[in-house]
Symmetry: C2
């Protein structure tokens, strides 16, 4: 396991700068983008945010995420997974697309899709449909996403909020009153906030001890820093 | 905060044995039971499990949980919270019931209801409706529930699974094939399982490193032990 962890959580490799600078300035390499649709639930809000964020990117569905995508009016370019949740009409509609069968029992469909994105050199990755449905699946998905949060620049949309993993400091735009929740995924020490109605000043957050849900932004931006641990921030859509 | 934590997480007080034994054996004090309905989502399955588990107990709704209860055909005896989510028809239907207004901003409605149950001497507490809807709310609810898991004997039902907090060892009945998920809420060390298809042998589980979702029971019971941390176990309904 440690070997595998090292591979999947390591820092993103440096871009090949010499190659980039050899191109004319208007042809500089664009960051490769993708929209990934997991097999949770979608609603109109997160679909819209997902599509707006990832224009002209590759659209990837993780297994049953392909059914969700079609229902939401999105046609994926690639379907990846063990294909055990694919509905017949999805198969038919996407027959001409790229299907990548990965029947491994060791790894869930979301992780297979993330590895595929890493192999394809995707840098900016928007993900929708990783929450909703079974709570254990949503929590498992968050753990898998946390494993890759240093590989990709994420935009993570749930039907109610955009989610951010925080390991040090983050500053986010907001409107006064935007709902903000802070959920410790791995005991967060020294949590300090600016621009929230209920401020925290170098305090610990951990499950069963203290949680930071139902806060709200007071102005046009807020910031959160933590000394150690892993914090998940929800910013209401 | 430490003072407050001590109050809410301390061990359950010993029962007054001298009083209990003074009663005839068939009149020994029954454990006080309650069904608590939180303001998440309900479906037919968890409502049925909740009602079956808590027969003849007090029925308590945490704020908007009262709306959910009525939709599911349950009439609560008590409604507790800041009452900001109560629909007019709920107010009307439950006008003759006990309403406990607690407008504190420091504490969510679920925690207010848990404190009420503690004050009422409830020992066996069945809870439904604490998941579904907003994921940050569900995660906040889990944190609050974990704070009181040594105060009550819980039965925690979500629409898809019964949930168990594990701090040491647990053995649960199952059917072969029952879905089981293990989610670390606070880095779980030394996780060992018996009776699961993908066994763990003194291994760590933590968010972003390794998760234990999508396992299943192989026989009529399974057991899980952990050396330290806090594990949430989902057993499929």
């Amino acid at each position: 396991m440690p070997g595998q962890m090292k591979t999947t959580t390591g820092p993103r490799p440096e871009p090949m700068r010499s190659w980039v600078f050899a191109l004319p300035s208007n042809r500089r390499k664009m960051k490769r983008r993708a929209l990934l649709i997991a097999n949770g639930e979608l609603n109109q809000t997160d679909v819209q945010f997902g599509m707006d964020t990832c224009k002209r990117g590759l659209i990837i569905a993780a297994d049953g995420g392909a059914n969700q995508a079609i229902e939401a009016g999105i046609i994926p370019d690639v379907v990846i997974g063990d294909m055990d949740s694919i509905q017949p009409q999805t198969k038919e509609l996407l027959a001409a697309k790229r299907w990548i069968l990965k029947p491994s029992q060791e790894m869930g469909d979301l992780e297979k899709a993330l590895l595929f994105c890493q192999e394809e050199g995707i840098e900016e990755l928007t993900i929708i449909g990783f929450t909703g449905g079974r709570l254990d699946h949503a929590l498992g998905n968050l753990s898998v996403l946390a494993r890759y949060d240093r590989v990709f620049q994420y935009r993570l949309f749930s039907p109610h909020a955009e989610l951010f993993f925080v390991r040090d400091t983050i500053t986010l735009p907001s409107n006064p009153g935007t709902p903000v929740s802070l959920v410790p995924l791995d005991k967060a020490q020294g949590v300090t906030t600016k621009g929230l109605a209920y401020p925290l000043c170098s305090e610990p957050l951990s499950v069963g001890q203290r949680e930071g849900t139902s806060n709200r932004a007071t102005g046009t931006q807020f910031s959160i820093s933590i000394a150690s641990g892993l914090l998940l921030v929800f910013r209401g859509l």
